[in-house]
């Protein structure tokens, strides 16, 4: 509570007794705590002590000039709003005062309502300013945490590789190290592949964000894209004992977009569905078109995603811990890439999942409506 009062405190610095009195009366009546001072030196002491939100200062006073007071107030706290009161409301003095950092000026004589209005506006401006500063600080903090996180993700595999190489060199040729050598070298390869994949995904994400990657807008048949991807993963799926079903076959699902981009999107979703599946599980891709929208579903019969993780699923570097160290960890960038691509193309992505039963990723994209778009194009040409 005290904070609000402190924030809204107003200081009046004026050598004219009548002026101090009337300002105090008017502002007190509006509910502001007010302190008045009769010269610059005392006023500055008051400002330093009270940390007011707003200061009304007379430009022409004996002793310290109003201009000097303005500068000193902002040395104390640059966020204090200063309104100058001047009996000689020439453009010059007003402009000088504003240059020195005053927010506005109030020419004498003024009505109580004018005073109230200018004070209210000044305080509002201060509030907005402080809010945007706060938002900026939060953004900065978020950015810093993100950088920390990215470097951690990049450094971890590198540190692991480094340490294996170090111990291989250091521990020498004992029977025990010989036995584990092969395993350690294999881990080095796994981790260096992981690192490469993170960098690749990171670059993909950056290029989608930079729109260089997703710029092209052509007619793309998703059946064609998905069929190609499923074919490419036939062997991988077979090795994991997962069967692949394409229910898009025989139909065209036309959207407008970038072919590469759409390939990356469905590639990520399909490989996830294979990777996070169970032995003898299956992956089914189905589709429909309705109300100008193409909806593609990628359904797996896998481990599912625990409820508590659902909201973080599309965050960069988020990975669900499934406690299975045998599986290769993803980069934590696949789904953020998907989300980014889908939103670049004006669509959306959502997930439904039941733990140990499986997940369904549903991608919605605006349908390519040949006639309409052709008309628009010819319209542009005219």
């Amino acid at each position: 509570m005290g904070e609000i009062e402190e924030q809204d405190c107003i200081v009046v610095i004026d050598d004219d007794y009548a002026m101090r009195l009337s300002c105090r009366q008017t502002l007190s009546k509006s509910g502001y705590p007010v302190e008045v001072f009769e010269d610059g030196a005392q006023g500055l002491e008051g400002v330093a002590r009270l940390k007011p939100a707003l200061v009304l200062v007379d430009l022409k006073m004996p002793g310290l000039s109003g201009m000097e007071v303005i500068a000193r107030i902002h040395e104390i706290d640059p966020n204090i709003v200063i309104v100058v009161i001047t009996g000689y409301a020439t453009i010059h003095t007003a402009v000088d005062a504003m240059k020195a950092g005053a927010y506005d000026f109030l020419p004498k004589p003024f009505k109580p309502d004018e005073l109230r209005l200018i004070v209210r506006r000044g305080l509002e401006r201060r509030r907005l300013h402080l809010e945007s500063r706060q938002a900026e600080i939060e953004r900065e903090l978020l950015k810093r945490r993100f950088v920390t996180f990215v470097s951690h993700q990049l450094k971890s595999p590198l540190a692991a590789i480094h340490q294996y190489l170090d111990i291989l060199k250091r521990l020498g040729d004992t029977e025990e190290t010989r036995a584990r050598q092969g395993e350690w070298l294999d881990r080095c390869l796994v981790r260096s592949r992981e690192l490469q994949q993170i960098i690749n995904d990171w670059l993909t994400l950056a290029s989608v964000e930079g729109e260089t990657f997703s710029r092209q807008r052509v007619e793309v048949d998703l059946n064609e894209v998905v069929s190609g991807i499923l074919k490419a993963y036939e062997k991988t799926a077979e090795e994991s004992g997962v069967s692949l079903h394409n229910e898009l076959l025989g139909n065209a699902y036309l959207v407008r977009g970038d072919r590469n981009c759409l390939s990356v999107l469905f590639d990520n979703l399909i490989i996830n569905a294979i990777k996070y599946n169970k032995p003898s599980g299956c992956v089914t891709v189905s589709g429909m078109e309705r109300e100008g929208e193409v909806v593609i579903e990628i359904k797996d019969t896998g481990i599912g995603i625990p409820d508590k993780y659902r909201e973080f699923l599309f965050d960069e570097f988020f990975r669900v811990k499934n406690g299975d160290p045998g599986k290769t960890a993803g980069t934590g960038l696949g789904l953020p890439i998907c989300k980014r691509i889908v939103s670049e193309l004006g669509g959306s992505i959502e997930v439904e999942s039941t733990e140990n039963i499986g997940s369904v990723f549903r991608v919605r994209l605006p349908a390519f409506s040949g006639d309409k778009e052709a008309r628009e194009h010819s319209g542009e040409a005219e």
């Binding site: 945490r145 920390t148 996180f149 470097s151 951690h152 450094k155 971890s156 590198l158 540190a159 692991a160 480094h162 340490q163 294996y164 170090d166 111990i167 250091r170 521990l171 190290t177 584990r180 350690w184 881990r187 981790r191 811990k321 160290p325």
Partner: protein
């Protein structure tokens, strides 16, 4: 002498645990492993190690600090408060940067903070010195 000294390594990176284990076992230490903060605290109570090697960023950004704080301040771990903690992270950010207020640092300060990849000879020095106080006599 070192054969009875137990060291608990808490890190979610299986390869870090594996390589630290190899380094420490070669020196004759007994190594216990935990893949998360929670598991680490369980192992602490169960095995009463003489030293803890603790990763900072595990499932969450500050998991290691949480473990450190729990051991130092929660009543449940009062018996283990004297177990020295060496914090490790691949990030060159010391606790002093993370907790800018001096009194906070004093409260959560780990006994030592080192970065990954480990400088092995220095790390072994740190370990040796840290277990001086707690090793079985």
């Amino acid at each position: 002498m070192a054969s009875q000294i137990k060291i608990l390594v808490i890190d979610d990176d299986v390869d870090f645990r594996e390589s630290v284990k190899a380094i420490l076992e070669a020196e004759g230490y007994i190594v216990l492993e935990a893949a998360s903060g929670r598991e680490g605290l369980e192992q602490l109570v169960e095995h009463r190690p003489h030293l803890i090697i603790l990763d900072v960023m595990m499932e969450t950004l500050e998991e290691g600090y949480g473990v450190n704080q729990a051991i130092k301040f929660q009543d449940a771990y009062a018996d283990y408060r004297q177990v020295p903690i060496v914090m490790v992270s691949s990030i060159m950010e010391t606790p002093f940067e993370r907790y800018p207020r001096a009194e906070e640092v004093e409260m959560i300060r780990p006994d030592v903070y080192v970065t990954k990849p480990l400088d092995v000879p220095r790390f072994l020095e740190i370990v040796k010195k840290a277990v001086e106080k707690t090793k079985p006599s």
